[in-house]
Assembly symmetry: C2
Homo-oligomer: 354 residues x 2
DNA sequence: AATCATAACTAAAACGATTTAGTAAGGCGT
DNA sequence: ACGCCTTACTAAATCGTTTTAGTTATGATT
């Protein structure tokens, strides 16, 4: 007849006798010790130095047997720390945010942090509301992707492509001047002079600076962008349709162009569709260059020439800077601007001007 | 000289005199009442019925002035509830998970829940570890996307495309039989008989059932899939490259085919690239049909014919079922299977067989 | 023999709420 | 004048930890 010794004290899974996880108090009662002792020992506190190894071993053994794990909530309350951040993105499914989130996640999980995500889909009231909810949820910091902060936060904030001059914000941004130079340089080297540009939507925080950089670089190259060759993305759909519509308008205007610089890869894909429908081949008739280098870019037909943003790295940098600020406390100074470099990826959607 | 009356009690932002949020105790001290009274009144408890309106108003006013908001951690500890879930996905940036997450998020936030996300990138140790960490973090339930549960969890679990027979799991799955019928029916109707198929990677939970459904449907249609026309995705890259490689192998085998049913849109895009390089035009020489209907599908060149999975809806259903199970408690029975229907989206990548 | 140090613990406060079980004061009925 | 009901609150326990400040024995030192 098998002995049942262990069955009524510890059972294999993570529970006391019932289904819930075991608490420190229960464990202490079982060992005939106080919770203080257990806590001190289990956390390796120096105060526990005087406790004999035998007792320590008993404690460790029981903790293992009962699958004890300290209650995170209780610990958070006591330590006034949650090891949790809030991440605000415009849209989860657009490839851009997801790319950044990849970098954020890798660094955070490795450092023992978790994060809440919320997507605002460009609705102003949500952009205002979510940071408050995050605050209520006791996050220790905020990462905002492509989302301007309207009001200063009591928490440390890192903004990715947010272009934010609110105090207390660390901005992770692309070197847009360089990006514009790379793209226009490439097109001009290929002999293009009549270059059309598609600006981003009003709400996208990159729109303004990217356009300005292109505008300035074009003047520097002495090939200014003709105002009638400037289009703008309109709706807030994350699909290529916006680029498709903008390009149709551009074509419809009658102005001719041999190259098109799209706001991003998604809209470049839409643009190629619109050009094709108008009987214009890419890259033979019109060269198209995108922005971002999302996964789909390399395998589009034709493969997209584009300006790569190091999205993963930007996310990782955001996480790193935020954690550093949290560790340092609010008194320490911190960088307000962190710049990352773009890269020109030449594929099949650009070719010499005819 | 302006009066400073309010400045030393409440200041505009959410703080007492210093920077931190105000606690109930501080608020109570300020009003000369006990925390009990404030809590009762602020939470609209019936016990507070006997408290005169005047006092209640004083409390509400002070709460507003000091921007009082109950500490979520303390409340969680007391109520033994966190209103937080864990979501486990293979990869954030692959469009599939992001689509499902969109639905999850919409429903959860609306119900006052937040969620932690973690992506395991198909690493077995992470698939085991993250549910434990979530548990430690006191989440109230788990959503697993395209990820089989290896061991039963003490928490309610909803699996999206996980095909999981672990007890305690609600499975949200696509009607794969119908999906296979739609796709093959379409190809066969177009006159295709030699149909190649690309299976998913071993680790993808949809791989097995999807292949089985295709296999069975093909037999039912009396156009069985020839074993030499079966390829499989190999690496765990989320890019179209896997589909590209699989298709090269298929072409290299020398077996001819007039249609290709890819595991998903991503691999279909890679397949089209490989076919193009081999001098085969889509859809003139080979028809290609994808799966999922991700954003990129409609704007690929040629636009992809595909089987749409209602990803958003699947995410939403997952969230709904999980919240219902949490509300019901673990005693109540729950559905083990929830099926959603696929949809055939005909675009330009399929055409009559030559 | 009194003092001191050390070992092996523990009591109690604290984190910030919620909630149950009271209590003190006043009014009313008989 | 006594009990009883209301009104307007409050004390204290509780959730599960962590941590500071002790406490009690025992052994060593002067």
């Amino acid at each position: 007849m098998p002995r049942k010794k262990k069955n009524d004290t510890a059972n294999g899974e993570n529970s006391a006798t019932n289904g819930r996880p075991v608490s420190l108090k229960e464990l202490a009662a079982h060992l005939g010790l106080s919770t203080s002792t257990l806590s001190l020992v289990l956390n390796g506190s120096a105060v526990a130095d005087s406790i004999p190894q035998e007792t320590k071993d008993r404690i460790f053994k029981a903790a293992r047997e009962f699958n004890y794990s300290p209650n995170y909530i209780a610990r958070s309350l006591r330590a006034q720390r949650t090891f949790t951040l809030g991440v605000l993105v415009p849209e989860l499914s657009d490839g851009y945010s997801a790319g950044v989130l990849g970098g954020v996640e890798d660094h955070l999980l490795q450092e023992g942090f978790f994060y809440f995500v919320a997507s605002h889909r460009h609705r102003v009231e949500l952009i205002e509301k979510y940071p408050k909810i995050f605050l209520d949820r006791c996050v220790e910091g905020l990462i905002a992707v492509d989302t301007p902060q309207r009001r200063p936060s009591p928490l440390p904030v890192v903004s990715v492509s947010g272009h934010d001059d609110t105090p207390g914000v660390t901005n992770i941004v692309l070197n847009h001047e360089r990006a514009a130079e790379l793209a226009l340089g490439h097109l001009i080297e290929l002999g293009h002079r009549r270059i059309a540009v598609i600006k981003g939507q009003e709400f996208s925080s990159d729109t303004e600076i990217r356009w300005r950089s292109i505008h300035d670089a074009a003047i520097k190259f002495n090939v200014p962008i003709h105002p009638s060759l400037l289009a703008q993305l309109e709706s807030d759909s994350p699909s290529p349709e916006t680029g498709y519509l903008a390009t149709r308008k551009l074509i419809g205007s009658g102005e001719s162009f041999t190259a098109l610089f799209a706001f991003n890869d998604i809209s470049a894909i839409g643009a190629i569709r619109a050009l094709g429908e108008a009987g214009l081949n890419v890259p033979e008739d019109v060269s198209v260059i995108g922005f971002d280098d999302i996964h789909a870019a390399a395998f589009h037909n034709p493969a997209l020439t584009t300006i790569r943003q190091p999205l993963y790295q930007m996310g990782k940098l955001a996480a790193e800077h935020l954690l550093k600020r949290i560790a340092n406390g609010s008194t320490e100074p911190f960088p307000e601007l962190v710049t990352v470099e773009p890269e020109l990826i030449i594929r099949q959607s650009t070719a010499p001007a005819k």
